[in-house]
Amino acid sequence: MVGVSVGNRVSNDHQLARLLQIGVVLEEVVEVRAARHYETLSADERDADVETLLADAREESADHRERLEALIDRLDADPVPLAEVEALVEAQYAQTRPEDFDGVLYDQLNGEETAYKFYDDLIEAIEASEASFALDREELLATLKEIRAEEAEGVEEVTEFMEDRA
């Protein structure tokens, strides 16, 4: 629908930085929730497998966040400091009630699926844009595609885990 399209997509460093920041926040949410989720489970719901699954998810999100931040640093944009975001996300989840076991896994799945969708849309928008950015386009796309692939694997892992438990 090229002819009727609205919005300027990703047309400069500033917009790209903002979108990458949204990615950072999504990863932050997954990270904080994965950490909190394990705490909300009752003793008989906890086991090494769940712990590993959530710990891996947390680690992977932290790694994605760092990679996105490294990209943002190289763009010609004045990024908004994100230091407070972590505190904000923590504060928000401190108010949430403990969830049941299925809720924890479902939320984890939802977080990874959402992140996947976000990277997918972002990659498509960058590919559709003719703008040049302060960082190498191919490198930018390669990094985002790697992260997207890891999100896809994450979705698969949680799905398999849920099926095994069902």
């Binding site: 629908m1 609205v6 919005g7 300027n8 903002r18």
Partner: protein
């Protein structure tokens, strides 16, 4: 948010401002596209049962169209509020407009978990200011 949703949202807001059908010209201005583009999309929305077009009067949303438009507006409100409250972006209305086509509803739902949105959302959206009325700076509200 896809292009069709952006049009539905614009029709909904223009209808609210004009208290009647939305004219092609008003929609073209609001979306910053040509009137021909607006007509093309209106035809598509009509085919999908989301809008009715009456010659010389303009376009009105069907009940289903309104439902879609309100969801799109809610997604847009989340993006504006997220930019304003979390990333502390001063130019949040123009930035939200620039980014809305890349932010999917499911992504907005996730961002929604860390912002405080009013329960009456999206009814509090100010179509003239093109932002959530709660975010309109004091003295500039209608």
């Amino acid at each position: 948010m896809n292009t069709a949703d952006q049009y539905l949202k614009a029709i909904y807001l223009v209808q609210r401002m004009e208290n009647g059908p939305a004219s092609t010209g008003a929609l073209a201005d609001r979306l910053d596209v040509s009137p021909a583009s607006v007509n093309e999309m209106i035809g598509k929305l009509q085919d999908r049962g989301l809008a009715d077009h009456e010659k010389y009067k303009g376009v009105s949303l069907t009940d289903e169209g309104i439902e879609h438009a309100r969801e799109a507006l809610q997604t847009y409100c989340i993006i504006e509020r997220f930019l304003h409250n979390v990333l502390e972006v001063e130019e949040f209305p123009s930035e939200a407009k620039a980014l809305e086509s890349v932010i999917d509803e499911t992504v907005a739902e996730r961002l929604d978990t860390i912002i405080d949105r009013e329960p009456q959302c999206p009814d509090c959206f100010d179509p003239k200011a093109d932002m959530c009325a709660e975010l309109v700076p004091e003295g500039e509200a209608d």
